[in-house]
Structures are given as C-alpha cells and as structure tokens.
Amino acid sequence: MAAELVRYIGDGNRVADRQPPEALSEKDLREIFRWLTLLRAFDERAVALQRQGRIGTYALYWGEEATQAAPLYACEDVDWVFPSYRQNAIGILRGVSAATVLAWWRGYGGKHGFWNPREHRVAPICVPIGTHLPHAVGLAWAAKIKKEPVASLSWFGDGATSEGDFHEAMNFASVVKAPTVFFCVNNQWAISTPIRKQTATETLAEKAAAYAMPGVRVDGFDPIACWEVTKQALDRARAGEGPTFIEAYCYRIGAHGTADDPRLYRDEKETEEWRPLEPVGRMRAYLERQGVLQPTEADQIFEEARETIAQAVREMESIDRPGREVLFEHVYASGRPWSFDEGLEELRAVSRPAEVRPLGPQPPEAGTGDVEVPTGETP
C-alpha cells in the first residue's frame, strides 16, 4: 500500500549514498545548495528579528528547506508556485526582495509587504489552510486551455489534507488533467495536532488513490530526492498526463511559529532524533562526500547567504511604516469607491496613533498559536 520513500542521500555510514541523477550537473547541485543556504539564512535571521521585536509573529521553517528549494529548482521559470505561510520566503529564490518578505512579517502592506505575483510567478502567501490549492489547479487548467506549456506547484502541510478544499482541488485537477503538482510537506504536526489525529491512513500518499492520481513519497530532508520526484511530476504534467501528489515525509523540527511552545504537546527528545537529518548540513556533507563541494566553498556560500539577508534586513528597516492611505490602496483595481475618500478624510481629521512595535517574545505558557497573545492594551 504505502509507496516506498525516495531517497538519495545516505548517512555517510550504514546507509549508502546514491549518485545524483544524470540531469543534475555539479553546477546544479551547488546552486541547489546555495538556495538551501539562502532559505536557512533568512529563517534564522527572521527568528532573531522576531525575538528582538523587529518583526511580528513568524512561522519558521527550519529543516524544511529541501521541500522548498528543490521543488522550485525543478520548476521551469514560467511555472507558477503557490506557497503557504510556511514557504513564506520562497519568493526570494524567484527574485522577490527578501526585504519585502520580512516587511510582510513586520506587518507592512501595499507595495512594501506584497509583491507582484505575475512578475515572479509566485502567488501571494496563503494563510487559510489549503485554500490556495484550487488556485494552483485553476491556473494550470487555464494554461492547458491556452495550450501554453506552463505548470503549477502548490505547497501545503499534512493538516491541510483534512480540508475540503484539498479534496476539491485534487478532484478537479485529476478530472481536467491539470498540469499541477501537489507538494505536501508532511512534517507530522499541525500546530499541536499530530498526524495520527489528522488521518487514519498510514501515509498521505495513499490519498492520491481517491483521485486516480499517482502518489509519491519522498524523504523531505533530502534535496536531491525532492528535486527528482518533482521533476518527474512536472514532466508528466507537461506531457498532458495530469497531476501528481507528492508526500515529502519529514518532521517539524522547529516550533509551529514563534508564539508556539512545542514542549506543551510533544516530547522534544523525538525532535532531537530528527534534527541530525536536517537538509542543509546533510546536503553539504553529501556534496563533500561526492567531491562536488569543498568545505571552504561551502562556508563561503553560507557567508554570502547571510550577507544577502543582512542586506535585506537593513533594507527592510529603512522602509518607513506605510502611511494611513495604504488602507485604501489596491483594494479595487478599477478605482476607489466614494467611501474611501470619506474614510481617509475621517482619518486625517485625527492625529495618528503612535508607531506600532510588533509585540516582543512572550512567556511559553501564554499561547501556542499563530500570534503573540494580546496584552490587552488597547491602542
């Protein structure tokens, strides 16, 4: 029943390495590694910024870099990707400014916190679980109607498979043979809810059977394996054979978000057993074993990544908080309804509330969710 787990990278010990696929040149392998380090550098820096109160609640993805960088690397430039909040920084690998993503977490809107999806073929960050999957299907379906060789890929978690939108998207995609890839990051947790409370199936890949869709399982901590299964799925999609469901099996090593304290609901000993499998160090060791990368090179790539992000942080902090008019911007593409001018007038008639500091770190006992728990101070 359960498809076996596709894996390339061994443990440099009992589990042997597999040679990288033909199609991946050494240059490709180094580039994928560079992408991993960029995502890692962004994530670690963002957590620090939140602790310092310089951005708001942040959904970290430490350890999930392979499930993000590798599938994207398998995409053509014309392909669209649809991230959830967990893949919030994916755009930086498609030319979105890291400062823009950080500004989004700082609570900035308008042109500061959002990007133009068409420019990068990266959809906006999706917050309501699973609701972006029908968009990825519709986009791929549209490309099919236009007979253009464009595919789409959506990321979502194990918990998302419980939502009705997941089901409807999977069904639509298989019925119309939409060229799309469902990339499910099974990190085994939905906030505090473990996978066994989410589904009765042993694996998530099994669910693809309900749609006569191939269901693939891959080691979510293995960038090469994630690249390969995605590449095959995209080739299949472009060949007109329809969608594929990929379950990237891994573990949520970090907290759900900076407001979450996993000690409340899981034994962190288990987490520590998974930590050594995290993809960035594992990829580095693999590439060194393969002789594709020298230790010094690797350090340097890391350095560059950290510098790129440091630069983005400076940029982000150089942005002034958007003015009040931002409330009324871009709500309608066709123009502003009359109530907007009245609203702005009402606002301008009063002095503006003081600058907002995102709330700082909070006591573990306070909450486990998406936001810092309100202090109750009213603006």
Binding site: P117, P124, G138, N171, F172, Y332, A333, S334
Partner: protein, 330 residues
C-alpha cells in the same frame, strides 16, 4: 432577463477568448435556467465547462484562472449553494488585488440566481446579497431588466475586480424587451463603462415619496407607485439601485431630499440587510430634510419559508403600499 444574460455571455466570449464559463450543468444543458444555452456548440467544451459538484472548487479554480489571465464567469446553481464557496470569495477573490499591489485582481464574475417566488423546494430561495456587500473588495450588482442584465454582465466580465452578480430568478422571464445588439461599450479595448457597475436608475419620478429597491421587488415597487398615483394622487420617485456595492449614494440622497419621505424595499431579511445601510446613509446625510424616518419593507428575520407560504414572506404590493402609507402619514 435570461436572454440578456445569454447575449452578454455570447458577446463576451465572441469578443475575447479569455472569457470562460464554469459551473454545474452549464455546458451540456445550458444551465438550470438556460442562461448558458447554446454556448457549448458555439465555443466548445474547453471554454464552457460542466464542473464537478463543488462550489469552493469552482470559485477557487476560477480565481486561479484569473491569476493566469483569464476572465472566468462562474454560475452558482442557486443562491444557497454559494455558501460552500463563501470562503474562497471572502478571503481570496475579495483580497487578491490588495495582496498583489493591485496587479493581479481576481477578475471573476460569480453569477448567483437568487431569491424566492418560484415555488422552489427548501433552500433554493435565499437572498444573500448583504453578506457580500459587507465584504470589502467585492463589487455586488443586481440587474432587473433584460437590457441591464446584458449591459451589466458585460461590464462585470471586463471589469478587473471580482463581481458578485445577483440575478433575481423570479423575474428571469419577466419584462421581455428588445435588447439593442450593440454592446454598451467597446468590448475589444477593455475599457469598461464603470457607471454600469456603480449607478442606480430612476424608473419613475415624483415629489411625494422616494421608493428605493433592487432585484425582484423593483417591479412590485413600481406597481405600488402606480397604484399610489391612481388611488391617492401620490407621485413617487422609484429608484432601482442596480449597484449594491458601491451604493449610488448621490442618487439615493437626491431621491430622498427631493421627496423628503423614503421607503426602502427588499426581499432579504431585515436585520443587517441592505435596507439598513440605505436608511443609515439617508439619515446621516439628510435627516433634517426628511418629513419622516425611512421605512423598510423587507423579508422577515426568519428562514425563507416553504413555498406555500412564500407569498406571505415576500414583500407584496400591498405591504409596500402599507409601508408607503406609514411614511406618508407620519
């Protein structure tokens, strides 16, 4: 009205191959109400699609198509069945422009045949328009004549923003009229006449009473106005709102101030319905010019009844006149 809608879809699909139609039973049979009849033969099954039975999937797919650059028109089979797609409309269709620097609006039209009076079984007669009017980022319109249906649907399709297109199914086949073949604006150049999605229409002018309505209660309101004129020599201005969001506040205030007495009529339940918004706007801006408070004649705060009692629920000419009298005799 059905022929106007069908003509609009035909002309839009003819003029621009970005226009596609999605829905349940829309292609093979032309829809439960035959609004999409003939489109399959003319444009093929890639551009008009019988989808699986799943409203969130339909609306969500349409949003994705719009992101790619198409202009999808979704048909919801009956009012109530939009609720499974409500999440997609509120969190995505309404916010995609806002979330994309205004560069990628969810340029979709969601057509919703709504309201009662057709002797339908339970849960086929809701009037949910106020729910959408309260959601920022949407446009909500409601035509009442065949020509308006054609013109407003064309505008909705080519307008970049998401439009909730409310179709009063009770008058789908009422008020037959010649629809001018000529579209109301040049479809090719993509410049929509925005008045079509923002302006009310004055159907009758008088100085004694302003009667404001939209949808299936418009013809009833007109009959009430005629009766008032015939029986009591009361001359009423009758306003068909047409655009429910944004509201044509200028036309509303104009009617209110020139008549000094106002009755608002709609079929949806009263509490937090559109009548409340119209009433508030008028009082806020023109209370001192009123001889009486704005009176609402609406559906009641109850589930839409089984159809043997729907005529008890629906505002009737008699109830509208009674409301008018209350304002006039205030």
């Amino acid at each position: 009205m059905v022929e106007g809608l069908n003509l609009a879809l035909t002309q839009a699909m003819e003029a621009d191959d970005r226009v596609v139609v999605l829905g349940e039973d829309v292609a093979q049979t032309g829809g439960v109400f035959r609004v999409t009849a003939g489109l399959l033969d003319r444009f093929g099954e890639e551009r008009i699609v019988d989808t699986p039975l799943a409203e969130a999937g339909i609306v969500g797919s349409a949003i994705g198509m719009a992101v790619y650059g198409l202009l999808p028109v979704v048909e919801i089979q009956f009012d109530v069945f939009v609720y499974p797609g409500f999440e997609q409309i509120v969190t995505h269709a309404a916010r995609y422009a806002w979330r994309s620097r205004g560069e990628v609006p969810a340029s979709i039209v969601v057509r919703i045949p709504f309201g009662g009076g057709v002797r339908a079984p339970e849960l086929h007669s809701d009037s949910p328009e106020a729910l959408f009017v309260h959601v920022p980022g949407l446009k909500v319109v409601c035509p009442t004549t065949p020509t308006d249906a054609r013109d407003m649907l064309l505008a909705a399709i080519f307008d970049p923003d998401p439009v909730i297109f409310m179709e009063p199914k009770r008058i789908y086949r009422a008020g037959r009229e010649e629809i001018p073949e000529e579209p109301p604006f040049e479809l090719a150049n993509g410049k929509v006449d925005s008045d079509l999605l923002s302006r009310a229409r004055v159907l009758r002018t008088g100085k004694d009473l302003a009667m404001i309505s939209y949808g299936a209660t418009v013809p009833l309101t007109l009959s009430a106005a005629e009766r008032l004129a015939a029986d009591d020599g009361i001359e009423a201005t009758v306003l068909d709102l047409r655009s429910l969001y944004p509201l044509d506040v200028a036309a509303i205030i104009d009617a209110a101030t020139s008549c000094r007495r106002v009755v608002v009529v709609h079929e949806a339940p009263r509490t937090a319905g559109l009548g409340a918004e119209v009433s508030s706007l008028i009082h806020e801006r023109a209370m001192l010019e009123l001889e009486a408070p704005v009176i609402r004649v609406t559906g009641f705060d109850v589930p839409f009844p089984q159809f043997a009692n729907e005529d008890d629920y629906l505002p009737s000419v008699a109830r509208i006149m009674a409301g008018a009298k209350r304002v006039l005799e205030y």
